[in-house]
């Protein structure tokens, strides 16, 4: 022990502090959690990451790199995705959810404007090569991730141009061709080979690919219109939904006449109707249930309504009426909804005697899509329609993986991209002999666990569509480009759920000075020599980044 100083007056520079950490029964830890936006996103994009970079550093370039780590199609998805992330966004429980979709579009457009290049993750090329069948979103996403990981990839596309449903399904006013082309080209610049006009199963056997490549990915899509089987469908100007869109997107514009009736309630039906409107027709949509049961995304339905497309619910087609093998009308019957059927939706039953004729010059049957299995019949299916895969996205054929609409049934571009990403990881694991998939993620954090006091209410970014009469004049995008500052403002609304955003509360609220900012890393750390486990930091962390665990 030291000798006692005169008057017990102590030199404060010589003090050895008492380690109060020994009192602790609970211990705080910084634990990153998954925000519900990422959790809801079929691609598991690091949404929090790209938004915070925009908000804190106003750095569009880094935001683009964060986003394209998982999603090579930000400009595309920012236009066509139904944004389940926004439904999951915790800010929904505070004021309004983040306009993530528009932010994604802003970042994607920036990447295109500035010709940003994707970064490879593995620089030395690997000896394995993978064949990808189909250059839709699933196939291209799979090719993208494999190429970044150093694999040699070749994409086989049956159509003349790449893109799959992005090109041949989605109309230009939703997704300008130029945008999509440039995003595809950016992927190809990673060294991905592309051969078009080659239909695997017809022009080249799948087994050949299985021989020549170490793995195969099937991104076939569901590009065939399902047969409806109503009388009169062989008449001229009766189209399937996908067939109609394919023609339009290939440049073959049919004569639709004055009245167009579209049957169906999905996105394809909406797209067909809105295209027909732009071709100058009066358009009705006929659907046997109601709006509530329509599978199309809300934005599409609403925009279709704005474009003065008529919606006839409870209506089912019975027969196509033609005159000299030209369509003149559609006989429909009114339906009433009974208890739910196998799909979980109310069962529609026709009301006898309620038939009526809708005048129609063109009838578009957009009531379902199927996979084109031409030459690929030996692949295992579920429900006799979709490719069946195990949890590693491998099909019944060894080393053949699949994803996208062909596996999930009709789904979105984003879901397909997500599958492509997962398949690429599964392929890499498979080729390396990894049994365990490294897809485990931290638990999700919900708003109820967060401290809303530190956030301020702010109006959500809203995009303004051009007026309806302007829209219908062309196939141009209906939402003009966003001002970069607006996106940055919106990104500032991100609550950073589950990850520190440097609010300094833990640093400032600790009565024991047991939280320090590391001068080199810029990260916060607990000084467990002194932390008493009082939990004030946990309570006052706005984004639930700190949790208490039992001290050993």
């Amino acid at each position: 022990m030291e000798k006692l100083p005169l008057g017990l007056a102590l030199d404060l520079r010589k003090v050895v502090p008492y380690k109060t950490g020994s009192w602790r029964t609970m211990k705080p830890l910084y634990i990153m959690q998954t925000p519900p936006c990422t959790h809801s996103c079929p691609i598991n994009n690091d949404i929090r990451g790209f938004l915070r970079v925009l908000a804190d550093k106003q750095d569009y370039e880094e935001a683009w790199h964060i986003l394209t780590r998982t999603n090579p199609f930000p400009a595309t998805c920012g236009r066509v995705c139904p944004h389940p992330c926004e439904d999951g966004c915790n800010r929904r429980d505070y004021d309004t959810p983040l306009a993530i979709n528009s932010s994604e579009r802003g970042v994607g457009d920036y990447g295109l404007e500035h010709s940003l290049e994707h970064r490879k993750e593995v620089l030395t090329p690997r000896k394995e090569k993978v064949a990808v069948v189909g250059s839709g979103p699933a196939g291209l996403a799979c090719a993208f991730h494999l190429a970044k990981r150093g694999f040699g990839v070749k994409v086989f596309e049956a159509a003349r141009e790449p893109g799959g449903m992005m090109r041949y399904g989605i109309p230009a006013y939703r997704l300008p061709k130029d945008i999509m082309n440039r995003e595809i080209e950016a992927i190809l610049r990673l060294g991905v080979e592309l051969e078009c006009s080659v239909k695997v199963g017809v022009n080249i056997a799948l087994d050949q690919l299985r021989q020549d490549y170490q793995a195969v990915f099937l991104g076939l899509g569901a590009q065939m219109g399902a047969a409806v089987n109503i009388p009169g469908e062989e008449a001229k100007n009766v189209f399937t939904g996908v067939g109609f869109l394919k023609d339009i997107n290939s440049g073959k514009i049919p004569e639709v006449g004055r009245n167009v009736v579209v049957v169906g309630g999905g996105n394809t039906a909406m797209d067909c109707a809105r295209v027909a409107k732009r071709l100058g027709a009066d358009v009705s949509i006929v659907y046997r249930r109601t709006r509530v049961e329509m599978p199309a995304i809300t934005a599409e339905i609403e925009e279709a309504m704005e474009e003065r497309i008529m919606f006839r619910y409870h209506t089912n087609p019975v027969k196509i009426i033609s005159d000299e093998d030209r369509v003149v009308g559609l006989l429909c019957v009114q339906m009433e909804l009974k208890e739910a059927d196998a799909s979980g939706r109310a069962r529609p039953l026709p009301i006898p005697g309620s038939e009526s004729v809708l005048p129609a010059d063109t009838v578009i049957m957009a009531t379902g899509q199927e996979v084109d299995y031409d030459g690929l019949d030996n692949i295992g299916k579920r429900d006799n329609k979709w490719i069946s895969t195990d949890e590693y996205l491998m099909t019944s054929l060894a080393r053949v993986f699949a994803g996208g609409d062909a596996v999930l049934g009709q789904e979105t571009v984003s879901a397909a991209i997500g599958q492509g990403l997962r398949a690429a990881a599964a392929i890499e694991d498979y080729l390396e002999g990894n049994v365990e998939s490294s897809l485990a993620s931290p638990p999700v954090v919900y708003f109820k666990d967060m401290n809303s006091y530190y956030y301020t209410r702010k109006k959500r970014f809203s995009k303004e569509a051009i007026p309806v009469h302007e829209r219908l004049k062309s196939f141009n995008e209906i939402y003009p480009a966003f001002a970069p500052g607006e996106i940055i403002d919106e990104a500032g609304r991100c609550l950073s759920c589950g990850l520190c955003f440097n609010c300094r509360n833990c640093l400032m609220y600790c009565p024991d000075n047991a939280v320090n900012l590391h001068p080199a890393t810029g990260k916060y750390e607990f000084d467990y020599d002194f932390c008493k486990g009082c939990g004030l930091c946990v309570k006052e962390c706005p984004c639930h980044y700190i949790q208490l665990t039992l001290e050993k």
């Binding site: 006692l4 005169l6 008057g7 017990l8 007056a9 102590l10 030199d11 404060l12």
Partner: protein, 391 residues
């Protein structure tokens, strides 16, 4: 320079020459003239110091505590009730080893209220860890203050200079007031050992748990014991510098051949010396032992002086109620055990509440102790006003 002035003013002028930085005071009779004069000196610019008019004695002591802790030479003065009120701070100052000088204009304690002189007040804090020096006359009162600052700053102990209220404070005597340069030569500027200053961060006033407290108190006790040497030395240095004796631990008067020794403190020593001279002319040998430093109690010096004296009477202006004479107890304790065979030490309490001590009443005391030992007596008690039940 020789000046004819009140005891209070002698003190205030000398204190001013010691260049205190901070003075705080709350007025209480009979100390008021000291603080008033200091206020005047500060106000007229003759003394460059901060003069704080506090709202109580408690704050007066606290202000000088804070000032000393910050490195200032600090001074205050009080008496009686004021000293009792600042009791807590008195102990604190000693425990913190702050070299504060305080003038105690000794006065009686309530109840009942009495503003006249005795020494009960300074007795209440005799155990606090302060050096307590008693002045015999105004000259010594003044001189002791110069010595006090030096002793305090050398020992890091606070010092209480006791002077009898009214008897000294309000009496006019010729006093040699030194020149400023003489005081400056004798008393260097204060170089504090431990202060609060952001340039050298220190903590003063930490609490000490059972592991450390006892050692701190032991150290304080030893500091007081060792300060006897400093008191003696400074008194010697003062004599050399200013050409007169004052202060020190004890003084004696005609002790060598004395058959009876009177032991006392303070201004009554003057009266005792007069009596001794009278008795000498009558053929009696009486001597005086004057205690100048009451704390630390100069046990060895006392023993040496009284070793051969077999009849001793302790005359004091204080009493430990329920026990007896305080100075008497200390004197009795000065002799090693077993050595006291045959030695008589009588205890007389006198002058409480300003009761006059004259040579006549002292003669009565001498007459009595020559005949018999007196365990405890109150000098000049008026039995007539004491009811039967109170005897």
């Amino acid at each position: 320079m020789l000046k004819y002035l009140e005891g209070s003013h002698a003190v205030s002028q000398v204190v001013a020459m010691c260049r205190p930085n901070v003075i705080s005071a709350y007025p209480i009779t009979p100390q008021t003239h000291i603080v008033e004069d200091l206020a005047r000196l500060v106000g007229e610019g003759q003394l460059d110091a901060e003069f704080i008019n506090v709202e109580s004695e408690f704050s007066a002591a606290s202000v000088v505590l804070g000032a000393a802790a910050a490195g200032a030479r600090a001074y205050t003065t009080t008496t009686s009730q004021g000293l009792l009120l600042m009791n807590e701070v008195i102990y604190c100052i000693a425990g913190m080893r702050l070299p504060i000088v305080l003038t105690c204009a000794n006065r009686a304690i309530s109840a009942p209220l009495n503003i006249w002189n005795d020494q009960q007040d300074s007795m209440t804090v005799r155990d606090a860890g302060w050096i307590q020096l008693h002045a015999e006359d105004n000259q010594e009162a003044a001189d002791l203050h110069i010595q006090a600052f030096k002793i305090a700053e050398q020992t890091s102990l606070p010092i209480m200079v006791c002077m009898d209220g009214f008897i000294l404070t309000h009496a006019f005597e010729p006093v040699d007031i030194p020149e400023q340069k003489e005081v400056d030569a004798f008393l260097p500027s204060f170089k504090p050992q431990h202060i609060v200053d952001p340039r050298w961060p220190r903590a003063l006033g930490l609490y000490a748990d059972p592991r450390f407290y006892m050692e701190v108190r032991y150290i304080l006790h030893r500091a007081l014991e060792k300060s006897e040497n400093v008191i003696r030395q400074v008194s010697a240095d003062f004599a050399q510098a200013f050409g007169r004796e004052s202060g020190g631990l004890i003084k004696t008067y005609k002790l060598e051949d004395a058959d009876l020794v009177i032991v006392t403190m303070g201004s009554v020593a003057g009266t005792v010396k007069d009596l001794i001279d009278e008795l000498e002319r009558e053929g009696k040998n009486v001597g005086l032992l004057q205690i100048c430093s009451f704390r630390p109690f100069p046990k060895q010096e006392v023993y040496r002086a009284l070793k051969t004296k077999m009849n001793i009477v302790v005359l004091e202006k204080s009493v430990s109620l329920g026990r007896g004479g305080i100075l008497a107890s200390d004197i009795r304790w000065s002799f090693p055990r077993g050595e006291q065979k045959g030695r008589i030490i009588s205890s007389y309490i006198a002058g409480l509440g300003g009761r006059n001590i004259s040579t006549e009443s002292l003669r009565e005391m001498v007459a009595r102790v020559e005949k018999e030992p007196v365990e405890l007596a109150f000098l000049g008690l008026n039995q007539e006003i004491i009811a039967e039940r109170d005897l």
